[in-house]
Amino acid sequence: MTSPAPRLVARYRPAQRLIHWLGVGSFLLLLLSGLALLFPPLAFLAAGGLSRLIHRLAVAPFVLLPILYALLLPRQALELVTESFTYTRDDLEWFKHMPAYVLGRTKGLPPQGRLNAGQKIHHASTFLMFVSVAASGFVLWFGVGRLGPTGHALAAMVHDLSMLGLSVLMIGHVYFTFLYDALSGMVTGFVTEQYARMEHLRWFESLTPAEAAAPASAAETEPAKEP
């Protein structure tokens, strides 16, 4: 039971938000500069190697994201990975309600923890495709000229399909964010109590008043802003 709860509930720490937006920035740069080689109207970006330069510069923050997460917030990073790959009976129940949830109905959803089943599968697939897009990208980068026609085509297919997957996941992610007004969690770090109750009731009920007020202020002192 939660006692008189605040209207706003703390959800993401500053370091989590930093990593999220670093991921957004580098992913969008990679997507756009990559599209220069896929979408003819953008081919002018590729002339002279401009899009390639952008692509390779954006690779650094992108592939460092998981390492940065593990360094800044080791406990939360581990929690994210284990939660994303652990599914319970409740999650199955959630998937049955998913079609209605996609269309804007939360009613009848089994109460969810910090991550709902959809978020878990989103994170898990993002993680797997992150690995395949990065691996095939490095093969294309460092193997160019030595892959042969079949090798190059296979690596390019893995790269393209991983990006297709990641793009669809991103579109879905943005969709749910704006459908359920969840953006503030990643901007200010706080979500409305209403959102927390509707979408993550088990998580909301497990929070201590101090945690709900500001998890970042207590133990965690914004490590991202120190240097």
């Binding site: 009613k107 959803l109 089994p110 000229g145 190059h152 297919m157 393209d160 297709l164 359920y180």
Partner: protein, 269 residues
């Protein structure tokens, strides 16, 4: 009707003098170490029974050119049977270097480097530098039909001395734009008997690439439309919840399900 041009190289006439290599380098103002064509010696057998010839490494101007197929920027394209290069569009991605079955295109100084068939000269009605320069008439250039007929005649004439003499390139990859009069089997010159575009490359080009772009765009469109509907649905639910916050009487749920958004006993341990 457009013309279909082609080169031919008669390896019986070639004397390996490298004049074509030098003329190409000078005429195209290539950089230091850059080369569109290379001529090397092939020697087989043991003394005193030598067999020697020259192998030319240069663009074959395939009709169905794999390099043009994979080029994402339109740098490589076909013009009257020739594979021409718009260097200013090149991103140096290197896709062509992997796709070419003859290992011809290379990346030099941040752009693709391969024979451009001296496009400006040809458009001017002149011969490419190599054909213009060749002192033994081994390199010919002109309309493909005439070039092919001439090459076939040469191969037939050579068969008395070289039983395996043949024309290479009549049908490969839709017909090559460089026909070679060989004195032996293609393998003797390191040429693939039947170069093909591998299935993986076709699948990538014709299915995976368009699908990746198309399905992403489709997903964005469909979800955009769904959003309009779902957003209204959610607004109704929120309005109902707002009423329920003070008096926990839920909005009429059609299936009579328990109000899931009420904090209370968690049916989970």
């Amino acid at each position: 009707m457009s013309t279909r041009y082609a080169f031919s190289i008669d390896l019986d006439r070639c004397i390996g003098c490298q004049a074509c290599v030098v003329a190409c380098h000078a005429g195209n103002e290539l950089g230091a170490g850059e080369a569109y064509i290379a001529v090397r010696d092939i020697v087989r057998g043991q003394s005193p029974d030598f067999w020697g010839s020259f192998a030319h490494q240069r663009c074959f101007h395939c009709a169905e050119a794999p390099c043009v197929g994979v080029c994402p920027t339109g740098t490589l394209s076909k013009w009257n049977g020739l594979t021409v290069v718009a260097t200013e569009k090149c991103s140096a991605c290197g896709y062509c270097t992997d796709a070419c079955p003859f290992h011809v295109p290379h990346i030099y100084n941040n752009h693709v480097s391969k024979c451009r068939a001296c496009l400006e000269a040809v458009q001017d009605g002149q011969l490419p530098w190599c054909a213009e320069t060749c002192p033994s008439q081994a390199i010919r250039f002109g309309e493909r039909e005439a070039i092919l007929a001439e090459a076939k005649g040469r191969a037939a004439a050579l068969q008395s001395r070289y039983p395996k003499a043949q024309v290479y390139g009549e049908t490969q990859l839709g017909g090559l734009g460089l026909l070679m009069v060989l004195l032996d089997e293609p393998a003797a010159y390191g040429l693939p008997e039947n170069p093909v575009i591998p299935a993986a490359q076709t699948v990538w080009q014709t299915a995976v690439q368009p699908a990746s772009a198309g399905l992403s765009a489709l997903a964005a469109g469909v979800m955009g439309l769904m959003f309009l509907f779902a957003r209204r649905q959610h607004a109704r639910e929120k309005a109902a919840l707002h009423g329920a916050e003070t008096a926990p009487a839920a909005e009429a749920a059609p299936a009579g399900e328990p109000e899931a958004v009420q904090p209370g006993e968690a049916h989970h341990d």
